[in-house]
Symmetry: C2
Subunit: 206 residues, 2 copies
DNA sequence: AGCATAATAGTACGAACGTTCGTATTTCGC
DNA sequence: GCGAAATACGAACGTTCGTACTATTATGCT
Protein backbone atom coordinates (compact mmCIF):
# COMPACT_ATOMS: atom_id res chain seq x y z
CA UNK A 1 0.00 0.00 0.00
CA UNK A 2 1.49 3.27 -1.14
CA UNK A 3 1.72 6.27 1.08
CA UNK A 4 -1.21 7.92 -0.59
CA UNK A 5 -3.39 4.89 -0.06
CA UNK A 6 -2.35 4.82 3.57
CA UNK A 7 -3.34 8.37 4.31
CA UNK A 8 -6.49 7.94 2.24
CA UNK A 9 -7.41 5.00 4.39
CA UNK A 10 -6.63 6.90 7.57
CA UNK A 11 -8.74 9.79 6.34
CA UNK A 12 -11.66 7.47 5.74
CA UNK A 13 -11.41 6.08 9.25
CA UNK A 14 -11.66 9.59 10.61
CA UNK A 15 -14.40 10.39 8.12
CA UNK A 16 -16.56 7.49 9.29
CA UNK A 17 -16.14 8.58 12.87
CA UNK A 18 -17.03 12.16 12.02
CA UNK A 19 -19.92 11.23 9.74
CA UNK A 20 -21.28 9.14 12.55
CA UNK A 21 -21.75 12.28 14.60
CA UNK A 22 -22.46 14.92 11.98
CA UNK A 23 -24.11 12.84 9.33
CA UNK A 24 -22.80 12.19 5.86
CA UNK A 25 -23.98 15.59 4.67
CA UNK A 26 -22.85 17.49 7.73
CA UNK A 27 -19.38 16.04 7.25
CA UNK A 28 -17.40 19.02 6.02
CA UNK A 29 -14.02 18.98 4.38
CA UNK A 30 -12.65 21.61 6.73
CA UNK A 31 -13.70 19.78 9.88
CA UNK A 32 -12.42 16.49 8.51
CA UNK A 33 -9.09 18.04 7.56
CA UNK A 34 -8.71 19.47 11.04
CA UNK A 35 -9.55 16.09 12.59
CA UNK A 36 -7.11 14.34 10.29
CA UNK A 37 -4.41 16.92 10.94
CA UNK A 38 -3.93 18.08 7.39
CA UNK A 39 -5.02 20.82 5.03
CA UNK A 40 -8.31 20.95 3.20
CA UNK A 41 -6.71 20.89 -0.21
CA UNK A 42 -4.32 18.10 0.67
CA UNK A 43 -7.20 16.03 1.91
CA UNK A 44 -9.71 16.55 -0.86
CA UNK A 45 -7.02 15.78 -3.44
CA UNK A 46 -7.50 12.14 -2.52
CA UNK A 47 -11.13 12.16 -3.57
CA UNK A 48 -11.68 14.94 -6.07
CA UNK A 49 -14.81 16.44 -4.60
CA UNK A 50 -17.09 16.10 -1.63
CA UNK A 51 -19.51 13.63 -3.16
CA UNK A 52 -16.71 11.20 -3.88
CA UNK A 53 -15.57 11.64 -0.31
CA UNK A 54 -19.08 10.88 0.89
CA UNK A 55 -19.28 7.80 -1.28
CA UNK A 56 -15.92 6.54 -0.10
CA UNK A 57 -16.88 7.17 3.51
CA UNK A 58 -20.13 5.31 3.02
CA UNK A 59 -18.34 2.38 1.42
CA UNK A 60 -15.90 2.25 4.28
CA UNK A 61 -18.74 2.22 6.80
CA UNK A 62 -20.51 -0.50 4.86
CA UNK A 63 -17.36 -2.57 4.73
CA UNK A 64 -16.98 -2.19 8.48
CA UNK A 65 -20.55 -3.30 8.98
CA UNK A 66 -20.00 -6.37 6.87
CA UNK A 67 -16.85 -7.22 8.77
CA UNK A 68 -18.23 -6.57 12.26
CA UNK A 69 -21.78 -7.81 11.85
CA UNK A 70 -22.38 -9.94 8.84
CA UNK A 71 -19.18 -11.90 8.49
CA UNK A 72 -19.27 -13.16 12.09
CA UNK A 73 -22.92 -14.07 11.66
CA UNK A 74 -22.07 -16.11 8.61
CA UNK A 75 -19.54 -17.95 10.71
CA UNK A 76 -22.37 -19.24 12.89
CA UNK A 77 -24.14 -22.42 11.75
CA UNK A 78 -26.96 -21.75 9.32
CA UNK A 79 -30.47 -21.51 10.62
CA UNK A 80 -31.54 -20.05 13.92
CA UNK A 81 -28.03 -19.73 15.37
CA UNK A 82 -27.01 -17.58 12.44
CA UNK A 83 -30.03 -15.32 12.85
CA UNK A 84 -29.38 -15.00 16.54
CA UNK A 85 -25.75 -14.18 15.92
CA UNK A 86 -26.79 -11.59 13.37
CA UNK A 87 -29.05 -9.83 15.82
CA UNK A 88 -26.48 -9.96 18.60
CA UNK A 89 -23.74 -8.56 16.40
CA UNK A 90 -26.04 -5.94 14.99
CA UNK A 91 -27.01 -4.69 18.42
CA UNK A 92 -23.36 -4.66 19.40
CA UNK A 93 -22.62 -2.61 16.31
CA UNK A 94 -25.35 -0.09 17.02
CA UNK A 95 -24.36 0.39 20.62
CA UNK A 96 -20.64 0.15 20.12
CA UNK A 97 -18.61 2.90 21.71
CA UNK A 98 -16.42 3.41 18.66
CA UNK A 99 -19.42 4.60 16.69
CA UNK A 100 -19.97 7.65 18.89
CA UNK A 101 -22.67 9.13 16.69
CA UNK A 102 -24.52 6.00 15.74
CA UNK A 103 -24.62 3.97 12.56
CA UNK A 104 -23.56 6.00 9.56
CA UNK A 105 -25.88 4.14 7.22
CA UNK A 106 -28.95 4.60 9.40
CA UNK A 107 -28.18 8.28 9.78
CA UNK A 108 -27.64 8.74 6.07
CA UNK A 109 -30.83 6.83 5.28
CA UNK A 110 -33.01 9.59 6.68
CA UNK A 111 -30.74 12.25 5.24
CA UNK A 112 -30.78 10.98 1.67
CA UNK A 113 -34.12 9.25 1.34
CA UNK A 114 -35.43 12.22 -0.58
CA UNK A 115 -32.19 13.34 -2.21
CA UNK A 116 -31.65 11.49 -5.47
CA UNK A 117 -28.08 10.91 -6.52
CA UNK A 118 -25.14 8.59 -6.24
CA UNK A 119 -25.06 8.65 -2.45
CA UNK A 120 -28.68 7.66 -2.14
CA UNK A 121 -28.24 4.92 -4.69
CA UNK A 122 -25.25 3.46 -2.91
CA UNK A 123 -27.11 3.66 0.37
CA UNK A 124 -30.28 2.05 -0.94
CA UNK A 125 -28.24 -0.63 -2.64
CA UNK A 126 -26.52 -1.48 0.61
CA UNK A 127 -29.76 -1.75 2.52
CA UNK A 128 -31.30 -3.83 -0.23
CA UNK A 129 -28.35 -6.16 -0.16
CA UNK A 130 -28.58 -6.42 3.61
CA UNK A 131 -32.27 -7.15 3.54
CA UNK A 132 -31.74 -9.79 0.90
CA UNK A 133 -29.04 -11.42 2.96
CA UNK A 134 -31.33 -11.52 5.97
CA UNK A 135 -34.12 -13.01 3.90
CA UNK A 136 -31.70 -15.63 2.66
CA UNK A 137 -30.66 -16.47 6.20
CA UNK A 138 -34.33 -16.86 7.07
CA UNK A 139 -34.84 -19.15 4.10
CA UNK A 140 -31.96 -21.27 5.31
CA UNK A 141 -33.54 -21.44 8.74
CA UNK A 142 -36.68 -22.75 7.08
CA UNK A 143 -34.63 -25.31 5.19
CA UNK A 144 -33.03 -26.41 8.42
CA UNK A 145 -36.46 -26.94 9.93
CA UNK A 146 -35.96 -24.23 12.53
CA UNK A 147 -38.75 -22.12 11.12
CA UNK A 148 -42.06 -23.15 9.63
CA UNK A 149 -42.15 -23.54 5.86
CA UNK A 150 -44.90 -20.95 5.45
CA UNK A 151 -42.56 -18.31 6.83
CA UNK A 152 -42.24 -15.35 4.48
CA UNK A 153 -38.53 -14.47 4.51
CA UNK A 154 -39.14 -10.88 3.44
CA UNK A 155 -41.80 -10.31 6.05
CA UNK A 156 -39.48 -11.82 8.64
CA UNK A 157 -36.61 -9.62 7.52
CA UNK A 158 -38.89 -6.59 7.62
CA UNK A 159 -39.90 -7.26 11.20
CA UNK A 160 -36.35 -7.99 12.30
CA UNK A 161 -35.25 -4.74 10.74
CA UNK A 162 -37.98 -2.92 12.61
CA UNK A 163 -36.83 -4.40 15.90
CA UNK A 164 -33.32 -3.18 15.24
CA UNK A 165 -34.51 0.28 14.23
CA UNK A 166 -36.63 0.68 17.33
CA UNK A 167 -33.76 -0.49 19.48
CA UNK A 168 -31.34 1.95 17.91
CA UNK A 169 -33.85 4.77 18.32
CA UNK A 170 -34.41 4.14 22.00
CA UNK A 171 -30.76 3.67 22.66
CA UNK A 172 -29.59 6.81 20.92
CA UNK A 173 -32.36 9.27 21.63
CA UNK A 174 -33.34 8.12 25.08
CA UNK A 175 -30.14 6.35 26.14
CA UNK A 176 -32.46 3.57 27.14
CA UNK A 177 -30.53 0.38 27.87
CA UNK A 178 -33.79 -1.57 28.08
CA UNK A 179 -33.93 -1.34 24.31
CA UNK A 180 -31.47 -4.23 24.12
CA UNK A 181 -33.65 -6.49 26.20
CA UNK A 182 -36.73 -5.41 24.32
CA UNK A 183 -35.06 -6.22 21.03
CA UNK A 184 -34.10 -9.66 22.26
CA UNK A 185 -37.59 -10.34 23.56
CA UNK A 186 -39.18 -9.15 20.34
CA UNK A 187 -36.84 -11.33 18.31
CA UNK A 188 -37.50 -14.37 20.47
CA UNK A 189 -41.22 -13.93 19.98
CA UNK A 190 -40.78 -13.39 16.27
CA UNK A 191 -38.89 -16.66 16.06
CA UNK A 192 -41.35 -18.48 18.29
CA UNK A 193 -44.22 -17.36 16.15
CA UNK A 194 -42.62 -18.97 13.10
CA UNK A 195 -41.20 -22.00 14.83
CA UNK A 196 -42.63 -25.50 14.88
CA UNK A 197 -43.02 -25.30 18.63
CA UNK A 198 -45.56 -22.58 18.14
CA UNK A 199 -49.09 -23.41 19.24
CA UNK A 200 -48.43 -26.19 21.69
CA UNK A 201 -45.82 -24.72 23.79
CA UNK A 202 -44.34 -22.41 26.24
CA UNK A 203 -44.72 -18.78 26.94
CA UNK A 204 -41.83 -16.40 27.08
CA UNK A 205 -41.30 -14.63 30.34
CA UNK A 206 -40.14 -11.09 30.15
CA UNK B 1 -54.75 36.74 15.80
CA UNK B 2 -52.56 39.72 15.04
CA UNK B 3 -50.83 40.18 11.75
CA UNK B 4 -47.50 39.15 13.21
CA UNK B 5 -48.94 35.94 14.54
CA UNK B 6 -50.46 35.24 11.17
CA UNK B 7 -47.21 35.49 9.24
CA UNK B 8 -45.42 33.63 11.99
CA UNK B 9 -47.87 30.81 11.57
CA UNK B 10 -47.54 30.87 7.80
CA UNK B 11 -43.76 30.81 8.15
CA UNK B 12 -43.98 27.75 10.36
CA UNK B 13 -46.12 25.93 7.83
CA UNK B 14 -43.48 26.54 5.22
CA UNK B 15 -40.77 25.67 7.71
CA UNK B 16 -42.29 22.28 8.44
CA UNK B 17 -42.53 21.52 4.77
CA UNK B 18 -38.94 22.58 4.19
CA UNK B 19 -37.60 20.82 7.29
CA UNK B 20 -39.29 17.69 6.05
CA UNK B 21 -36.99 17.70 3.06
CA UNK B 22 -33.81 19.27 4.39
CA UNK B 23 -33.98 18.22 7.99
CA UNK B 24 -34.32 20.46 10.98
CA UNK B 25 -30.65 21.37 10.86
CA UNK B 26 -30.48 21.76 7.11
CA UNK B 27 -33.35 24.20 7.31
CA UNK B 28 -31.62 27.51 6.58
CA UNK B 29 -33.01 30.95 7.21
CA UNK B 30 -32.19 32.12 3.73
CA UNK B 31 -33.92 29.23 2.01
CA UNK B 32 -36.92 29.53 4.30
CA UNK B 33 -37.16 33.26 3.67
CA UNK B 34 -37.08 32.67 -0.07
CA UNK B 35 -39.77 30.00 0.20
CA UNK B 36 -41.90 32.26 2.38
CA UNK B 37 -41.38 35.21 0.08
CA UNK B 38 -39.79 37.54 2.58
CA UNK B 39 -36.42 38.77 3.74
CA UNK B 40 -34.12 36.88 6.06
CA UNK B 41 -34.16 39.60 8.69
CA UNK B 42 -37.90 40.05 8.54
CA UNK B 43 -38.35 36.35 9.03
CA UNK B 44 -35.92 35.68 11.82
CA UNK B 45 -37.32 38.64 13.76
CA UNK B 46 -40.27 36.42 14.62
CA UNK B 47 -38.08 33.90 16.39
CA UNK B 48 -34.93 35.63 17.54
CA UNK B 49 -32.43 33.06 16.34
CA UNK B 50 -32.24 29.83 14.45
CA UNK B 51 -32.60 27.52 17.42
CA UNK B 52 -35.87 29.16 18.40
CA UNK B 53 -37.02 28.76 14.83
CA UNK B 54 -36.11 25.09 14.96
CA UNK B 55 -37.96 24.62 18.22
CA UNK B 56 -41.04 26.37 16.89
CA UNK B 57 -40.92 24.31 13.71
CA UNK B 58 -40.62 21.13 15.71
CA UNK B 59 -43.54 22.10 17.92
CA UNK B 60 -45.64 22.84 14.89
CA UNK B 61 -44.82 19.44 13.39
CA UNK B 62 -45.61 17.75 16.68
CA UNK B 63 -48.94 19.54 16.88
CA UNK B 64 -49.75 18.42 13.36
CA UNK B 65 -48.91 14.86 14.28
CA UNK B 66 -51.16 15.00 17.29
CA UNK B 67 -53.98 16.41 15.21
CA UNK B 68 -53.60 14.07 12.25
CA UNK B 69 -52.64 10.86 13.98
CA UNK B 70 -53.31 10.80 17.65
CA UNK B 71 -56.50 12.78 18.01
CA UNK B 72 -58.37 10.69 15.42
CA UNK B 73 -57.09 7.53 17.07
CA UNK B 74 -58.44 8.72 20.40
CA UNK B 75 -61.80 9.15 18.73
CA UNK B 76 -61.91 5.42 18.08
CA UNK B 77 -63.27 3.21 20.87
CA UNK B 78 -60.67 2.20 23.38
CA UNK B 79 -58.96 -1.14 23.02
CA UNK B 80 -58.00 -2.82 19.79
CA UNK B 81 -59.94 -0.45 17.53
CA UNK B 82 -57.99 2.47 18.90
CA UNK B 83 -54.67 0.75 18.33
CA UNK B 84 -55.68 -0.17 14.82
CA UNK B 85 -56.76 3.39 14.13
CA UNK B 86 -53.46 4.63 15.50
CA UNK B 87 -51.45 2.45 13.16
CA UNK B 88 -53.60 3.33 10.17
CA UNK B 89 -53.36 7.03 10.82
CA UNK B 90 -49.66 6.79 11.50
CA UNK B 91 -48.98 5.05 8.22
CA UNK B 92 -51.12 7.63 6.47
CA UNK B 93 -49.06 10.34 8.11
CA UNK B 94 -45.76 8.82 7.08
CA UNK B 95 -46.80 8.31 3.49
CA UNK B 96 -48.81 11.46 3.13
CA UNK B 97 -48.02 13.51 0.07
CA UNK B 98 -48.01 16.79 1.96
CA UNK B 99 -44.97 15.65 3.92
CA UNK B 100 -42.75 15.49 0.87
CA UNK B 101 -39.58 14.80 2.79
CA UNK B 102 -40.92 12.45 5.41
CA UNK B 103 -41.74 12.91 9.06
CA UNK B 104 -39.90 15.85 10.57
CA UNK B 105 -39.61 14.20 13.96
CA UNK B 106 -38.17 10.96 12.63
CA UNK B 107 -35.69 12.89 10.55
CA UNK B 108 -34.67 15.07 13.45
CA UNK B 109 -34.35 12.06 15.72
CA UNK B 110 -31.29 10.79 13.89
CA UNK B 111 -29.95 14.29 13.45
CA UNK B 112 -30.09 15.26 17.11
CA UNK B 113 -29.68 12.00 18.95
CA UNK B 114 -26.08 12.92 19.71
CA UNK B 115 -26.45 16.71 19.86
CA UNK B 116 -27.46 17.77 23.35
CA UNK B 117 -29.53 20.89 23.64
CA UNK B 118 -33.03 22.26 23.64
CA UNK B 119 -33.97 20.74 20.28
CA UNK B 120 -32.95 17.28 21.31
CA UNK B 121 -34.78 17.63 24.61
CA UNK B 122 -37.99 18.72 22.93
CA UNK B 123 -37.65 15.91 20.46
CA UNK B 124 -36.98 13.25 23.04
CA UNK B 125 -39.82 14.56 25.17
CA UNK B 126 -42.22 14.24 22.27
CA UNK B 127 -41.20 10.70 21.52
CA UNK B 128 -41.40 9.78 25.17
CA UNK B 129 -44.86 11.23 25.38
CA UNK B 130 -45.88 9.35 22.27
CA UNK B 131 -44.54 6.08 23.55
CA UNK B 132 -46.30 6.60 26.85
CA UNK B 133 -49.56 7.27 25.05
CA UNK B 134 -49.18 4.10 23.04
CA UNK B 135 -48.44 2.12 26.17
CA UNK B 136 -51.52 3.58 27.77
CA UNK B 137 -53.64 2.59 24.78
CA UNK B 138 -52.24 -0.92 25.08
CA UNK B 139 -53.11 -0.98 28.78
CA UNK B 140 -56.64 0.02 27.91
CA UNK B 141 -56.81 -2.80 25.38
CA UNK B 142 -55.81 -5.16 28.16
CA UNK B 143 -58.49 -3.71 30.39
CA UNK B 144 -61.04 -4.20 27.64
CA UNK B 145 -60.03 -7.83 27.39
CA UNK B 146 -58.72 -7.45 23.86
CA UNK B 147 -55.20 -8.28 24.90
CA UNK B 148 -53.92 -10.75 27.46
CA UNK B 149 -53.26 -9.40 30.95
CA UNK B 150 -49.62 -10.44 30.87
CA UNK B 151 -49.05 -8.08 27.96
CA UNK B 152 -46.22 -5.66 28.67
CA UNK B 153 -47.46 -2.30 27.35
CA UNK B 154 -43.96 -0.94 26.90
CA UNK B 155 -42.75 -3.98 25.05
CA UNK B 156 -45.84 -3.80 22.85
CA UNK B 157 -45.28 -0.10 22.18
CA UNK B 158 -41.64 -0.81 21.37
CA UNK B 159 -42.54 -3.40 18.79
CA UNK B 160 -45.26 -1.28 17.27
CA UNK B 161 -42.81 1.56 16.98
CA UNK B 162 -40.36 -0.75 15.25
CA UNK B 163 -42.98 -1.77 12.72
CA UNK B 164 -43.66 1.85 11.92
CA UNK B 165 -39.97 2.67 11.63
CA UNK B 166 -39.31 -0.21 9.26
CA UNK B 167 -42.29 0.75 7.18
CA UNK B 168 -41.18 4.36 6.93
CA UNK B 169 -37.67 3.26 6.00
CA UNK B 170 -38.80 1.00 3.19
CA UNK B 171 -41.26 3.50 1.90
CA UNK B 172 -38.89 6.41 1.82
CA UNK B 173 -35.58 4.85 0.85
CA UNK B 174 -36.86 2.13 -1.46
CA UNK B 175 -40.25 3.59 -2.42
CA UNK B 176 -41.56 0.17 -1.52
CA UNK B 177 -45.35 0.19 -1.29
CA UNK B 178 -45.29 -3.33 0.17
CA UNK B 179 -44.09 -1.76 3.39
CA UNK B 180 -47.69 -0.83 4.17
CA UNK B 181 -48.91 -4.39 3.85
CA UNK B 182 -45.94 -5.67 5.79
CA UNK B 183 -46.66 -3.23 8.59
CA UNK B 184 -50.27 -4.35 8.74
CA UNK B 185 -49.30 -8.00 8.75
CA UNK B 186 -46.72 -7.45 11.45
CA UNK B 187 -49.21 -5.56 13.56
CA UNK B 188 -51.88 -8.20 13.13
CA UNK B 189 -49.44 -10.85 14.30
CA UNK B 190 -48.32 -8.70 17.20
CA UNK B 191 -51.93 -8.38 18.29
CA UNK B 192 -52.69 -12.02 17.72
CA UNK B 193 -49.76 -13.03 19.83
CA UNK B 194 -51.14 -11.04 22.77
CA UNK B 195 -54.80 -11.78 22.20
CA UNK B 196 -57.00 -14.26 24.02
CA UNK B 197 -57.62 -16.11 20.78
CA UNK B 198 -53.97 -17.02 20.77
CA UNK B 199 -53.39 -20.78 20.93
CA UNK B 200 -52.45 -21.99 24.34
CA UNK B 201 -53.38 -19.03 26.42
CA UNK B 202 -55.86 -18.91 29.18
CA UNK B 203 -58.91 -16.75 28.97
CA UNK B 204 -59.61 -13.90 31.24
CA UNK B 205 -63.07 -12.98 30.18
CA UNK B 206 -65.63 -15.58 31.09
C1' DA C 1 22.35 10.55 -6.35
C1' DG C 2 19.19 12.46 -9.32
C1' DC C 3 14.90 13.01 -11.12
C1' DA C 4 10.03 12.28 -12.30
C1' DT C 5 6.06 11.94 -9.86
C1' DA C 6 3.10 11.62 -6.07
C1' DA C 7 1.50 14.03 -2.10
C1' DT C 8 0.55 17.89 0.67
C1' DA C 9 0.26 22.79 1.65
C1' DG C 10 -1.10 27.40 0.64
C1' DT C 11 -4.05 30.79 -1.18
C1' DA C 12 -7.96 32.77 -3.23
C1' DC C 13 -12.63 32.59 -5.09
C1' DG C 14 -17.75 33.16 -4.85
C1' DA C 15 -21.58 31.66 -2.36
C1' DA C 16 -24.21 30.74 1.64
C1' DC C 17 -24.43 30.62 6.53
C1' DG C 18 -26.59 33.08 11.03
C1' DT C 19 -26.78 37.44 13.06
C1' DT C 20 -27.02 42.50 13.86
C1' DC C 21 -28.22 47.18 12.91
C1' DG C 22 -30.51 51.20 11.05
C1' DT C 23 -34.39 52.49 8.55
C1' DA C 24 -38.61 52.34 6.12
C1' DT C 25 -43.26 50.84 6.06
C1' DT C 26 -47.54 49.23 7.84
C1' DT C 27 -50.87 48.32 11.41
C1' DC C 28 -53.87 49.58 15.12
C1' DG C 29 -55.52 51.92 19.41
C1' DC C 30 -56.85 56.46 20.61
C1' DG D 1 -56.26 61.30 11.52
C1' DC D 2 -52.38 60.95 14.51
C1' DG D 3 -48.76 58.85 16.67
C1' DA D 4 -46.77 54.92 18.85
C1' DA D 5 -45.79 50.31 18.21
C1' DA D 6 -45.35 46.46 15.45
C1' DT D 7 -43.53 44.61 11.35
C1' DA D 8 -40.59 44.10 7.36
C1' DC D 9 -36.63 45.37 4.60
C1' DG D 10 -31.78 45.95 2.91
C1' DA D 11 -27.16 45.98 3.85
C1' DA D 12 -23.27 44.48 6.04
C1' DC D 13 -20.76 41.69 9.49
C1' DG D 14 -17.49 37.68 10.20
C1' DT D 15 -17.39 32.66 9.27
C1' DT D 16 -17.54 28.55 6.87
C1' DC D 17 -18.67 26.10 2.92
C1' DG D 18 -16.74 23.47 -1.54
C1' DT D 19 -13.64 24.08 -5.16
C1' DA D 20 -9.76 25.56 -8.18
C1' DC D 21 -5.10 26.67 -9.01
C1' DT D 22 -0.24 27.11 -7.87
C1' DA D 23 3.76 26.12 -5.16
C1' DT D 24 6.38 23.26 -2.17
C1' DT D 25 7.80 19.02 -0.07
C1' DA D 26 8.37 14.04 0.09
C1' DT D 27 8.69 9.59 -2.09
C1' DG D 28 10.46 5.92 -4.86
C1' DC D 29 12.64 4.09 -8.98
C1' DT D 30 16.82 3.74 -11.95
Amino acid sequence: MSRGEQTRSAILDTAVELASQLGLEGLSIGALAAAAGMSKSGLIAHFGNKQELQLATLQRAQARFRASVFAPALAAPRGLPRLEALLARWLDWLMSADLPGGCVMLGAATEYDDRPGAVRNALAGGFRELRGAIAKAVRLAVDEGHLLPQTDPWQFAFELFGIVLASAHDWRLHADARSITRARVAFARLVERHSAAHGHAERIET
